[in-house]
Symmetry: C2
Subunit: 291 residues, 2 copies
């Protein structure tokens, strides 16, 4: 297992972690500069942040700062209420793939979508099995585009509390079943993103990480689960402040051959209130001490 | 599949649903009278409500009103930080068994506990595998007491969002693995409570309900999952207000041989603000229309 205590060469910052500071948006260009100033060598930006900063400008800045990507957030949202919705999702995901290529991402992370309309508060139906079938078909179609571009797709199973509105793939086992069905040859074009926040509770976690293996483990996201958790979306904890056994899970992931970055992804109104530079410093310190 | 539209003979009210009305506690004796007045033939009371009303007085009232129990809430909380904690849990669970016998419950529902201390905000450690081992040992020990009393134990898998602080058994598969380990002969002494709120998202739900079968399906709890859900604990929805396909899940449960009550269990600050009688009337109406 790699020693994270002495430096932070394997740390990546998911830029959602500092998308706001002191209650206001923090522009991506400034985030990248602040990361570079601290010797952070990798990030995972969100599409809306990249769009606001400009795709080409972001690609140039990343090259100039010698910052790599550990992933690109995010594609997905495959479920749909009608044919127009399906085509819009396909088109949008192709654009996400192209952006990921421009930025040199190692994978496009997929948050697959839940019941169509649910995220907007108006679910079209209650048939989660049907949504799951749409998701599987959507990944299958996108996989063709992804193979052409040599951009791996990383299915991110989301915590079951997001099954209705964000992602109906909710366990690593379920994500790997999709991988097995769509890429039985384990080509490397399709894998998973393991975010400890979503999967730490799973009694089958270790076994499924082993099942995934190096070819399918495309990303590792870290943060912590607070007790109590007071908001379903924006109350993630800083590493060390919660109950997730981060070192144990990283051990399983590395034993299975994963050698990529450990990416800090924290959605938290309380951390978004702080100074962004302080949050990055805390991420570095906690990553050394707790991950 | 039984027809619930014409009457509510199979409806049970978990008394937590109306433990408060108009913002104040509603005494159990009044709840039972209100249920009887509406032709509700079964309830599942909570231990603190029974203690406040008096155990013997509650047993007498239930007999006088000819109201049966669909379960007794709840035993469990097996994980512990030290030997004294283990013994305290064992003693408390024995008392719960005795109360369940006095009240004529068909089963004692088990919420098994999470990381020791987590519910109080001070988790003793991060080792959920260790907590799970304590839970399994605790159920094994209690099963002896339960067999003596001929009181079945119903393990209730709780939603993964409660894994840290309330229950580290989080899927039906995991609960049934414990049943298989501790009662391989399927004696009927150990089974599961299926609460749709906790398990609706599970891609393996149908298969695991079939695996459970009539001997292990001891209780069915219904409510709904709201989008958005704004509180992890007290924002359950009334049947029909959310995204759970209640009829489909009840179909699976009944196809597997379950013939018991459908128990409405809603923790909701918004419903606790209403008049309790109105809430009961709504439960009856929604149970006919949506379950």
């Amino acid at each position: 297992m790699r020693d994270f205590t002495a430096d932070h060469r394997w740390l990546s910052i998911n830029t959602a972690t500092v998308r706001r500071q002191r209650g206001a948006d923090w522009p991506l260009a400034e985030i990248l500069d602040a990361c570079a100033a601290r010797g952070i060598r990798a990030v995972s930006p969100w599409r809306d942040q990249v769009a606001a900063a400009g795709l080409q400008a972001t690609a140039r800045q990343l090259r100039a700062l010698d910052i790599a990507l550990s992933g690109y957030c995010r594609g997905g949202m495959f479920s749909y209420a009608d044919a127009a919705g399906r085509e819009a999702a396909r088109d949008d995901n192709r654009r996400a793939l192209d952006e990921a290529c421009t930025l040199g991402a190692p994978c496009l992370v997929l948050v697959v979508g839940g019941l169509p309309g649910a995220l907007a508060g108006t679910p079209a139906h209650r048939d989660i099995a049907a949504a799951r079938a749409q998701v599987s078909d959507g990944i299958a179609a996108l996989l063709e585009d992804a193979r052409e571009r040599r951009m791996p797709l990383a299915i991110e199973p989301l915590h079951p509390m997001y099954a209705a509105d964000r992602a109906c793939i909710n366990t690593l086992e379920q994500a790997l079943d999709v991988c097995d069905a769509l890429d039985p040859g384990r080509s490397g074009a399709l894998g998973v993103a393991v975010d400890v926040y979503h999967v730490w509770w799973d009694p089958k976690l270790q076994a499924q990480i082993e099942r995934a293996g190096a070819r399918r483990l495309l990303a590792l996201h870290v943060c912590d689960w607070l007790v109590p958790t007071t908001d379903l979306l924006n109350d993630r904890g800083m590493m060390g402040d919660g109950v997730i056994d981060l070192r144990r899970i990283r051990g399983w992931v590395e034993s299975s051959g994963f050698t990529g970055c450990s990416e800090v992804e924290i959605f938290s109104t309380r951390w978004w209130r702080r100074d962004g530079g302080e949050v990055l410093d805390t991420c570095i310190e906690r990553h050394r001490r707790c991950v």
